[in-house]
Amino acid sequence: MNVLIIEDEILIQKSLLKIIGAKGHSCIGTSLGKESIELIMNNEFDLIICDLMLRDTTGFDIIEATKVKLSPAEISQKFTIITAYCSEQVLERARGYGCRVFEKPFVDLMKTIDTMLYPNKIVEKKYEFEEKSTNCSQA
């Protein structure tokens, strides 16, 4: 999997690169909005983990700028937002793009990263659980 990590807090970026890299994915990190837009334009990423408050721009601006290349469906599938400012307005806007939002600091780091990398797996698990519970009620 090709992963881009946009995060200006350098220690968070390094940690994510290290953990995701250790899981066998190829990943690139950047702390600048301008650079990240260029990277998205010139490469094909499967997952873009994007911080909202960057020094030169915001994560939403990056999404807007990449609209020329990516379709709305691709944006909602690829972009995953991480932020320390998890206000209602932020969630509202993220919902508009269909992106998932994770609030920093992560309570369970490994679990959060797994959810970022394999969102569908969680849905499957949830489905299994629901099936189980219906079985239980029938019994």
Binding site: E9, I10, L11, S15, K104, P105
Partner: protein
């Protein structure tokens, strides 16, 4: 803000209108002299009073002119055939006519004696002037014919002249009070905030303006009769009942400002701290060096502590009133951590009653508010103890006890400071009462307010076990039980 300004403007305009209507006061005397006190249930005016009497039955017209001192024109009325007609007379004319009457030794005048057509006198007339505190009056009494008056008439008129002042003065006084009462009511009703009115002699009267938003509501004004006849009134806006409001407003302002600042601080700090912790944990997992591992663990632990302290502070300044079951011991520890900058060099101790030693003391309450109260008390104590004397075993002592039926918990904060200045003791919990040079005087007022919101109470006990000040915070163990923590 907009509507408040408009309200104030409207009030001011109305007030101007009322003040200017003062000019018409004399007219009102003529019209609405209620002489209830003098003639049971009868409403009479001065002309009615005169013409209604046995002596002046045969007279047809009374003209009554009143000049209020300081006014440019005079109000006058003519009463005949049971109807009133109002008119105005200039002060110069009033003075001229009044002079003519005073100069003359007789009481009887002819139509032409006054050389004016503005006062509609027909035929011969009785006339006399009178001076009543703020008013000068002229009264004309006529049959509208040129026949001379009889001796009986003259006698009656002389009598009227002598009793007139004693007859009219109480009427004017009552009327004056009625008028002032109306004026005062109007002012209080229209004033944008609550007003406290007191007399110079020290009697206190409080009038709250409740009708500002509801114009139809009658303002409950007790004793205004007494007030309106009293010239020495003191109007002020800050009242006893307002103090809660003021401390609430300041509390709210303080909380919202600090809340915003702390929110920013929390976000700005938690992100880099999160990075530190992440990388630290990762390095720790990677390294085999035991010494490095331990150092990294220390860093990680301290980062976690920073996060917790930031979290505590931002919690302290949120104004949520949410009840939760928490350990009082934890709350006390948190308060001590928060106040650490002030109390770090002081010897402090927390003593729990024997029965509570192994008890986490779970209480259902608003922990934020308790922390805020304890934090405030600790800071106050620490600031009072400028120099450590070293004589006492502790500088600050917190003791925790339960009352006999386990419904109320008492947290006492004692200090070894100089105690409360006796001069401010009486107003200790009132807003803006302070002994500190740069104090706002709101700390204890807010604490008292919060303790009452917690269905508890905050009481100053005087000199405590350490010789300084001693405060006890009484709290119900379950706030939902609604215990009354009184002064007992």
């Amino acid at each position: 803000m907009q509507t408040e300004n408009e309200n104030a403007k409207a009030w001011y305009q109305k007030w101007q209108k009322i003040s200017s209507s003062k000019k018409h006061f004399p007219i009102k005397i003529l019209h609405c002299l209620k002489i209830e006190g003098l003639f049971k249930n009868k409403f009479l005016t001065i002309p009615q009073l005169i013409l209604g009497s046995e002596e002046f039955k045969s007279f047809e017209t009374v003209i009554f002119i009143v000049h209020q001192k300081g006014m440019k024109s005079c109000s006058a009325c003519i009463y005949e055939n049971k109807t009133f007609t109002e008119f105005q007379v200039s002060t110069s004319l009033f003075n001229r006519v009044s002079k003519t009457i005073k100069k003359s030794k007789k009481n009887v005048f002819a139509q032409n004696d006054f050389k004016t057509k503005k006062i509609p006198i027909i035929g011969n007339t009785f006339a006399f002037t009178n001076s009543l505190s703020n008013y000068n009056t002229i009264t004309f009494l006529t049959r509208n014919d040129f026949l001379p008056f009889s001796e009986n008439d003259v006698e009656s008129f002389s009598y009227l002249k002598t009793v007139f002042e004693s007859l009219v003065t109480p009427i004017i006084k009552v009327q004056h009070i009625n008028f002032n009462e109306k004026l005062l009511k109007e002012v209080i009703n229209q004033f944008p905030t609550s007003i406290n009115i007191s007399t110079k002699s020290g009697d206190k009267h409080f009038y709250s303006n409740k009708s500002w938003n509801n114009k139809d509501a009658e303002v409950p004004i007790k004793g205004i009769y007494h007030l309106s006849s009293n010239k020495d009134l003191i109007f002020s806006t800050a009242t006893e009942n307002n103090e809660d409001l003021i401390s609430d407003i300041h509390h709210f302002n303080r909380i919202s400002l600090l809340g915003e600042l702390l929110n920013t601080l929390k976000h700005e700090l938690s992100n880099p701290l999160f990075g530190l912790k992440l990388y630290c944990d990762m390095l720790e997992a990677d390294t085999g060096d035991i010494e490095l591992k331990e150092s990294l663990q220390d860093i990680s632990f301290n980062v976690q502590r920073c996060n917790e302290i930031i979290e505590m502070f931002s919690k302290l300044y949120t104004d949520k009133n949410q009840l939760e079951v928490v350990s009082l011991k934890k709350i006390i520890n948190e308060s001590l951590t928060l106040a650490k900058s002030e109390i770090r060099f002081l010897k402090k101790n927390v003593l729990f009653h024997q029965s509570l030693n192994d008890d986490p003391i779970l209480i259902n309450t608003n922990p934020t508010w308790i922390t805020q109260i304890l934090f405030n008390l600790l800071i106050n104590s620490a600031q009072a103890i400028n120099n450590r004397t070293g004589k006492k075993s502790f500088d600050i002592l917190i003791t925790v006890e339960k009352n006999f039926d386990d419904s109320i918990i008492e947290i006492t904060v004692d200090d070894a400071g100089p105690g409360i200045d006796p001069n401010i003791l009486e107003n200790l919990f009132k807003p803006f009462c302070t002994s500190k040079k740069s104090g706002t005087g709101l700390g204890l007022a807010i604490c008292k307010n919060l303790s009452q919101k917690l269905s508890g109470n905050l009481i100053h006990l005087g000199a405590g076990t350490l010789g300084g000040s001693s405060f006890v915070l009484k709290l119900p163990i379950n706030m939902e039980d609604n215990y009354e923590c009184t002064n007992n």
